[in-house]
Amino acid sequence: MEVKELEQIASQVRRDIVRMVAGVNSGHPGGSLGCADFLTVLYFDEMNHNPTDFKMDGIDEDVFYLSNGHISPVWYSVLARSGYFPVSELGTFRKLSSRLQGHPSTDKGLPGVRMASGSLGQGLSCALGTAQVKKLNNDPNLVFSLHGDGELQEGQIWEAAMYAAAKKVDNIIATIDYNGRQIDGDVDDVISLGNLNAKWQAFGWEVLEMDGHNIAEIKETFAKARVMTGKGKPIVIIMKTEMGQGVDYMMGSHKWHGVAPNEEQLASALSQLEETLGDY
């Protein structure tokens, strides 16, 4: 898909995010906006997947895990916009009996979601399990995963990182949303990740870096990562993003991690984001 077209989808995804969160006065807009470009490219351009025929076992298609489940608004929007479920259902986000739970779950049968997430640090292990089974099944498709940078403070991530290299799980492309912010402030002030690139390399991973708001670069990096698969090493992309990207007053701060905009703020946000596919 052309860059221009992907940019248009990403703009609509950002509108969906702020409208969903404002609609229930709760949710996590900051990280969602920051990952809108990434998930748009992943679902509309990169992954081999079947939106209209969702199968839990993910056999014969690429599988994605969202480990940082709190950015569910962006995932739900991208899933709906790519055809997993009706776009109108985005209006039920976080409401009673909705399939769109505050954090993603399989409990209510939402197509596109294969694992609950929200309690952080678990998704890389799940992704690796699926990746190893793909090898066992002679399924050449890949597993993708997304993790927050603050989430890397969870120890299980590093158990999984060590395991992946030791077992040569080379059919996974994990991505880190490196926005440098978490609930209590800047990641560097809470618990610094130190030299993140060197850490992943030391754990035996191939490390790529990219600008998470440059669609052409995201496409190129995915292409590069795909070429690197099957060579005995797991692959991680450190993706530089801005929390709240696309909405000026949400950028440059951790304050919009888990706060919804009010009516006036919503209007301001929407005025900055072009409606391209039609609001839900």
Binding site: T106, M115, V133
Partner: protein, 320 residues
């Protein structure tokens, strides 16, 4: 004086039943995979590893990762069996099980050895007595505590047919075998081992044999005890409980677990809602374990055969 004959078929550890069952189900079902956190020998998983190396995953000392891996392996159609000690199978990884396995309703079989006091000399850090409670509180989770070698083998095979998360709890020491090798294991269907009229003894795991011994001793004193092997804690065989206690009007529950949250509490919940009846708990009373020989520990913590006999007499008195 009446005597109760109960045939002992030998003596073996329940974990070896797991090891044999795993190998057998591995042969029967190619979707079965196994993961182990550096305790392959202790869990008796070597035979499976040797026979199916490509379906065996050594994960090292990283139980949280193991639970996540297992959950992920169900996506792709596999039936993962995880193996480590009961403490590291539950308490250590509770949130991983809660989110990635129970809430996500993944077809993972959590197989836990060295449960309870009879782990012995390693002491309290390894002697989990809370695991049944932890696991039975999770929605979607099935909880099974087989009584001997044969039943552990049968349960290990049977759980592959059940689509959903299972907690299978077994132990370390060698204990008498009394379940027939060709017995059918049905999840949620209790085994009525001895019929009686004065008191019902409901037990699970290692305490089932102790309950049989207790019933034999009670019979010599003219007390007729009914013994039920409640190998499935969840879903509980409510009918078996009500049928038996409806007849005997009192119950002793026996388990190698805390009184809080274990089998006894499950039974009490059923009775209080249907037919309240006097109940005595033979269980560990809000204490951590300690080092010692398995049999010594059962005695010291009050969950041995004489404790069941005593509890039975006491509960019969309470009927009036």
């Amino acid at each position: 004086m009446k005597t109760i004959e109960f045939e002992v078929l030998g003596k073996k550890d329940t974990r070896s039943g797991f090891g044999e069952g795993l190998l057998e189900i591995g042969k029967q079902n190619k979707n079965v995979v196994a993961l182990c956190a550096d305790l392959t020998g202790s869990l008796k998983m070597n035979a499976f590893e040797d026979e199916f190396p490509e379906r065996f995953f050594q994960v090292g000392i990283a139980e949280a990762n193991m639970m996540g891996l297992a959950a992920g392996m169900t996506v792709g159609g596999k039936i993962p069996y995880t193996g480590t000690f009961a403490n590291f199978s539950t308490g250590r990884v509770y949130d991983q099980i809660r989110q990635s396995i129970a809430y996500s309703k993944k077809n993972v079989k959590i197989c836990a050895s060295h449960a309870g006091l009879t782990l012995g000399e390693d002491g309290a850090t390894h002697q989990i007595l809370e695991d049944i409670g932890l696991m039975k509180m999770l929605p979607n989770m099935t909880v099974i505590v087989p009584a001997d070698f044969n039943q552990t083998k049968q349960a290990t095979i049977a759980i592959a047919e059940h689509d959903g998360p299972v907690y299978l709890r077994f132990g370390r020491p060698s204990v008498p075998i009394f379940v027939k090798p060709d017995a059918e294991f049905k999840i949620g269907k209790a085994d009525l081992l001895i019929e009686g009229t004065d008191v019902t003894i409901i037990a699970c795991g290692h305490l089932v044999w102790k309950s049989i011994e207790a019933a034999q001793q009670l019979a010599e004193e003219g007390i007729s005890a009914e013994v039920i092997n409640m190998h499935t804690i969840k879903p509980l065989d409510v009918k078996a409980v009500l049928d038996s206690v409806g007849k005997t009007k009192c119950v002793v529950t026996a388990e190698e677990h805390m009184a809080n949250g274990g089998l006894g509490d499950s039974i009490a919940q059923v009775l209080s809602q249907h037919t309240p009846a006097p109940q005595e708990y033979v269980a560990v009373n809000d204490k951590f374990g300690e080092s010692g020989k398995p049999e010594e520990l059962l005695t010291k913590f009050g969950i041995d055969t004489p404790d069941i006999v005593k509890a039975a007499k006491k509960v019969i008195q309470r009927k009036n």
